[in-house]
Amino acid sequence: STALKQGHITPTELCQKCLSLIKKTKFLNAYITVPEEVALKQAEESEKRYKKGHSLGDLDGIPVAVKDSFSTSGIETTCASNMLKGYVPPYNATVVQKLLDKGAVLMGKTNLDEFAMGSGSTDGVFGPVKNPWSYSKQYRGKRKQKAHGENEDSNWLITGGSSGGSAAAVAAFTCFVALGSDTGGSTRNPAAHCGVVGFKPSYGLVSHHGLIPLVNSMDVPGILTRCANDAAIVLGMLAGHDPRDSTTIQDPVKPFTLPTLADVNKLCIGIPKEYLAPELSSEVRSFWSKAANLFESEGAKVIEVSLPHTSYSIICYHVLCTSEVASNMARFDGLEYGHRCDINVSTEAMYAATRREVFNDVVRGRI
């Protein structure tokens, strides 16, 4: 944004660069919809503002991407499901509207697991998202040493999910900020897989109005960026009470500023002992302790803590998830919007066939 302010690059140029990158990285399958003309128009508007010196702030002219489970006015929103193929919402999700109000340029809607149910970004109807790092020199090199002659098509890594498209979009430099959603790790997990910052704000801080729900009582819009400072800036713009979402807190939000982390001396880092699950792979475990050692060697205090309710979390998650999913999916009956089958013997038969035709096994399993 400094570059934009100083005129080193114009929003339109930036937008075009990102668009061409999106085209170049099409094989990643990060995007479902790329509304090129809309994006260029938004960039043009932004450029006009810069010329007049009326920039809307840090986000003005910045290319962003949004997970395809956020409603975007006039732009198809599919949730990577046949159920919503062709569904064009008539309104913007609050977080999308807030980004646009700050001048952000919407590059596209990113891929996900169908209805955000998954943690691999492999279960959407548009196919899996491929991790940009699969194509890095280091990884290619490793692969070549390990296994020769493997099928090039299976020679890629997953992004994690369900916001894998958003993570891949940020990691591939096709945008600067992407919105994901996080219910049980759907933002943080792909961010970790793709080496970007993934942030799940506390429930109630950011409005989920317009986010097509997975589990209402845990869904939170997530932020994916290239660095923590960017995440803080975006959070500052998205946070706050939304009259359309009764679960957002009413208290005014204080602006977020990240302390400059020159010194980790004063940090105290807890390591929950319950997280040291036996299922953890040795590779992850060694990276974990490596990070802890790194902090400790720089002077931070690293202690063991206990989160005794951890063992209940999966059970609670599954009870809430399955029951709320069954409830939230009830509206997808083919009547008001979305897919409708050809069967018209009775309303009940139509419901059943419509839903059987378009929900995948994961979705149907959870219902």
Partner: protein
């Protein structure tokens, strides 16, 4: 359960005071008068002689009916319970539908403050305990006019509980024999209305209108403390008046703003309650009474013939006057209730619990609402009785017609006539004209001031009461004229001119010597004939008592 036990067979004599539909109440007794000692002995029963014998003895017992009600009242509000779309009856189909009402994915409910206030007001008026914390739940079922696949309601913790509703039923033959009864109110809950399905049979299509989807409803659950259709109808009528007085619902049954489901069972007093049936979607008080009475009769008949009552949902066919099982609601539904995750608990305050510095727009103070409750119908009736010495049944009649009380009060304000006279005119003549022409009070061509002026003329004996009726008819016909104008145009004023009246009397006496002779011979009724003749000669403009005096003087001279 403290269900009152009542001899079912006495119902025919009962007469409901808060009456339901003009004219329909007479002769109904005969229709529903029911004898519990029926003749049995159809073939199916005869095959089981033992059982039949037992039943026969049971049949000698009295039957008691137990009736509970679930009432849905549409909240009178500008917008829906959880969305900003407007609430209007008979708007073009699907013209009042927000994204939330159409259940577009990602939309969220936002509670309407007005609906909460309406629920609190209604709860207070019905002597309920208001829960300072209440919760919203989802009730799931698939139906085309329920776009989200669930209804948001208050299943676990409703907004108001444990209330009561007092209503009056006439117990004797005279309308003045009023008995006040009480039905307990289990709870009042806030919930969403559904849309409407219109079935186009010839094209085998179903059309959906979502205008009603999401309108706020108050579900009022009445405990099974009633024992017949008339009691249920009176309780509903009283509730309707209360809702209208509060302004929390227009409660017009014909427009579906008040819908009643009745739970009915019969048993022998002292024995456990019987299996109940539910009669759904009763949209007039008269049909409610009819449906309940039919259902009680049907259940007794079934049981006396050795059959069982099924726990089922039935509908009332008002054309045939009977209830029938509903096809599409067969089988027990699992509504899969679950907490509504998008709505935090609804918290209410009283003055004591009000957080300091709270934004009055963000909190609801129960005490504040309580202090501002309008006068309830029972209080209004009591006042009328105290203030004007009115008979209880007249106070009921005044409140039963929308706008009639206000009309009455406006007349009273502007007239010197006795309240009893005003009551009689308003309830007999004015209401009679309205009924005859099927008009509401608001549509009346006669204004309160016009009637007040007419009653003033009558009060100072400027016109006779028969002339007053003539003037009223004229007022009804020709809008805009004042009673005085009509009186002078039609020369209806009483003859104040004593001499002129004496001349008329004289002429009449001269013209009818035979009658005069009769009087003089001592026939007491003959003078009435003379009075009549004089009145005819004066075109009813003379006061009969004055005529009588003159005649008597002349005859005795």
């Amino acid at each position: 359960m403290a269900a009152p036990v009542q001899r079912w067979s006495c119902v025919g004599k009962r007469w409901v005071l808060a009456y339901i539909d003009g004219g329909s109440r007479h002769g109904r007794g005969a229709a529903i008068g029911f004898t519990s000692r029926r003749k049995r002995g159809q073939s199916s029963v005869a095959q089981q002689p033992l059982v039949t014998a037992q039943k026969s003895r049971k049949g000698e017992h009295e039957w008691a009916a137990v009736v509970g009600l679930e009432i849905h009242a549409q909240i009178s509000s500008n917008s829906k319970l959880f969305s900003g779309s407007q609430v209007h009856f008979a708007a073009p189909p699907n013209s009042l539908v927000s994204f939330f009402d159409a259940s577009l994915p990602g939309t969220l409910p936002v509670l309407n403050r007005r609906c909460v206030e309406a629920a609190v007001m209604t709860g207070l008026a019905l002597n309920c305990r208001i829960n300072k914390k209440s919760l919203f739940d989802r009730k799931h079922y698939f139906y085309a006019d329920l776009p989200a696949g669930y209804q948001i309601t208050q299943q676990r913790l409703p907004i108001a509980v444990n209330g009561s509703l007092a209503y009056s039923v006439c117990v004797g033959k005279k309308p003045s024999q009023v008995s006040t009864k009480t039905v307990r109110i289990k709870q009042i809950q806030l919930e969403q209305d559904s849309g409407k399905s219109l079935h186009d049979e010839p094209r085998s299509q179903t059309l959906i209108d979502l205008n009603r989807a999401g309108v706020g409803l108050l579900e009022v659950v009445l405990e099974p403390d009633m024992s017949c259709g008339e009691e249920a109808a009176s309780a509903v009528r009283e509730l309707q008046l209360i809702l209208q007085a509060l302004g929390t619902s227009q409660a017009n049954m014909a427009e579906g703003q008040l819908r009643v489901d009745a739970n009915i069972s019969v048993h022998h007093p002292g024995e456990p309650l019987g299996v109940r049936t539910e009669v759904k979607n009763l949209n007039s008080a008269r049909f409610l009474a009819k449906a309940i009475d039919f259902e009680i009769e049907r259940q007794i008949h079934e049981l006396e013939n050795g059959r069982k009552i099924l726990n089922e949902t039935r509908s009332f066919d008002y054309k045939l006057g009977c209830t029938m099982p509903m096809r599409d609601k067969e089988g027990k539904q699992d509504y899969r209730f679950m907490p509504e995750p998008n709505l935090p608990p609804l918290l209410l305050h009283d003055t004591a619990s009000l957080p300091p510095g709270a934004d009055p727009q963000q909190v609801i103070n129960i005490d504040w609402i309580r202090e501002r409750l309008p006068e309830l119908p029972s209080e209004t009736r009591e006042k009328l009785i105290q203030q004007y010495g009115m008979l209880p049944e007249h106070s009921f009649a005044l409140l039963n017609e929308v706008g009639l009380l206000e009309f009455f009060q406006n007349v009273i304000k502007e007239t010197r006539a006795e309240p009893k006279k005003v009551t009689s005119w308003v309830l007999n003549i004015f209401l009679g004209f309205l009924k005859q022409q099927n008009l509401t009070v608001n549509e009346s061509p006669v204004t309160p001031s016009a009637l007040a002026e007419l009653l003033n003329l009558l009060d100072r004996k400027a016109i006779s009461s028969s002339a007053a009726k003539q003037v009223f008819e004229e007022l009804w016909r020709s809008k805009g004229k004042t009673p005085s104008q009509i009186v002078s145009e039609k020369k209806l004023e009483l003859m104040q001119d004593q001499e002129a009246l004496e001349r008329v009397c004289h002429t009449v006496m001269e013209g009818h010597p035979q009658v005069v002779m009769d009087v003089k011979r001592g026939n007491p009724r003959a003078i009435n004939k003379l009075i009549g003749l004089v009145r005819k000669a004066t075109l009813s403009r003379a006061d009969p008592t004055v005529i009588k005096k003159i005649l008597e003087r002349k005859l005795s001279s």
